[in-house]
């Protein structure tokens, strides 16, 4: 058991508007002590808290901190953040609802067992937090299990301006801006073997939906997931027609346990925060598609090669 001679310093300086520290934890006690100290400090300041961590951590923290505090919202990140691309929307929504009260968040987007692709997108999410929360009054503490692979931990030093452990918090000398980290996350996507390829334009959108539906049926997707799949593919292909030059190419394939749909078109994506904030669904201007894809899919990968835009949607079959 690790015994602390002193509690980590409050990672929230009095004059800071937004703080985004990473907390590295080697043991469960480290975790409970470090996260627990953060939560208690924030609660003592009367700040509303969102604790979004892997589900198995929740009862441990609740045992330490109590379950009845009405100002703490508990969320299983394995579910809510299964797709890393939808976490930021949840955090922003919480911050919006508690604007003016200095909302505090514990967000643990990366855990042992995340796939490399998920981890890459979760790292992108961590970088984008700095962009999305710039100028806001809020604190987002991100615990990292030191059992994670070393490159993942190294990225955490790049995505968090402040890092901490049992010894306290300090500025991260390796911190890199969100644009740079996102560029590094744009790793080339692996080529599938023998995908089904469908070129489409506006007149072919209904056929694309039908093909995607057949694909889902062949994979025996449960009804609810079939609906998710169809809605997501529909939004991606519709965006190609609407924003991506009027046409696109849909590729469908299956990996172990996952259905993948990839849409390529000549569109551009200049705002890295697209789809990471809940849109107004009644807006005549649209803007719902990418956000919906993130909500509906287990992983969304977006790449912007010189040829245009690539969106890959992953849905677990199980």
């Amino acid at each position: 058991m690790t015994t602390y001679t002193r509690q980590p310093a409050d990672p929230v300086a009095e004059d800071a508007s937004f703080r985004h520290p990473a907390l590295f934890c080697a043991t469960q006690d480290d975790y409970l002590s470090g996260v627990g100290a953060f939560v208690r400090t924030q609660a003592a300041h009367g700040r509303p808290l969102l604790v979004a961590v892997p589900g198995e951590r929740l009862p441990l923290l609740q045992d330490v901190l109590g379950r009845e505090d009405a100002d703490i919202t508990w969320v299983d990140m394995r579910q809510a953040g299964r797709n890393p691309g939808r976490i930021l929307s949840m955090l922003l929504d919480f911050a919006d609802r508690h604007a003016g009260r200095h909302p505090a968040i514990v967000g643990e987007p990366i855990w042992v067992g995340r796939t490399p692709a998920e981890t890459r997108e979760a790292t992108r999410h961590e970088a984008l937090i700095n962009l999305a929360f710039a100028g806001r009054t809020a604190t987002v503490l991100c615990p990292y299990d030191t059992a994670l692979p070393e490159p993942v931990l190294a990225q955490a030093h790049r995505t968090h301006p402040v890092v901490g452990d049992g010894g306290g918090y300090r500025p991260s000398p390796d911190y890199a801006g969100p644009e740079q980290v996102c560029r590094e996350c744009d790793a080339p996507l692996p080529e599938p073997a023998a995908p089904l390829v469908l070129d489409f334009d506006e007149g072919g959108l209904a056929d694309v939906r039908a093909a995607a539906g057949n694909w889902a049926d062949a994979a025996a997707l449960p009804p609810r997931r079939r609906t998710d799949w169809l809605l997501a593919v529909n939004e991606a292909t519709g965006n190609s027609v609407r924003h991506g030059g009027g046409r696109g190419t849909l590729r469908l394939w299956r990996t172990a346990g996952t259905l993948v749909a990839e849409v390529r078109d000549r569109g551009r994506l200049t705002d890295p925060l697209v789809g990471r904030r809940r849109p107004d669904p009644l807006s005549p201007a649209g803007g719902r598609g990418v956000w919906m894809m993130h909500q509906l899919c287990d992983l969304v990968e977006v790449r912007t090669p010189p040829s245009g835009l690539v969106v890959r949607l992953h849905l677990a079959v199980e």
Binding site: E202, L205, A206, T227, G238, P281, P284, M292, Q295, L296
Partner: protein
Amino acid sequence: MRGATASVDGAAASTRHVAVEYSSDAEWAGHLAEFVRAGLAAGEQVRYFADATDPGLVTRTLTRSGVDAASALRGGQLVVITADETYLTGSRFDPDAMIGLWREAVDGAAAQGFQGLRAIGEMSWGARDLAGAERLLEYELRIHHEVFEQLPLTAWCFYDRRLLAPDELAVLARAHLTRSGAAVRDGEPGLAVAPLAGPPGFRLSGSAGYESRRVTASAAAALAASPAEHLTLDLSALDHLDVAALADLARAVRRRPYDTPVRLLNAPPALHRMLELFPELGDGFQEVSR
């Protein structure tokens, strides 16, 4: 005056608003003669609103078919005129104005002592670059409840397959509860919308996506404009709809003058899922299942 305030049940009204599709002059002439002959025999006034056809050809064709068109014209029982001279004279086609014109026309026929009014309208103007032509589908959807269930009127909408794109024609024809003409196609793909024969409302069938956004917009416009307080949107035959379509309908519901929610019948799974993501899109709807 009689008839103008009569109310007719929806089922009967559905047979009096008919989409007639044809592909040749001979087919056109056959439909024309059948319709006019029946109307004249019943003592009804018959009005033909020409668009692509010369009015003189209409009367000559009737005469060749054995209809005493000349006599009917002289007696005012037959009126052959162009759409441009009548309901397309304004700056743009306006469904609301058009519905008012039907009311006046039915009253006029009754005032002249006719047993009722029947009309043929060539709908080829819907494919022309005409202001307001994009509202034709909205109009076709609305008039079942707003005209045919209210007035003693029989109308055949003449759709010339040579003048309208197949997809556009299919959508417009399917907005009628009765269709006539050779080789009416079944199983036409895409999104279709039609009025309900029973309670006021509309039925969407097929699949609604970006490609069918104009159809959805027309359905939404008809929904918003409906004077019926109690309205049903039957989605039993709708396989899929996207969020833009749902948002269109949700905005339309908000434009209605009533607080009474629109009944959603048998909504597809996609709608339920989208309401989980965007609960506010369900405001103004009441879901029911049959």
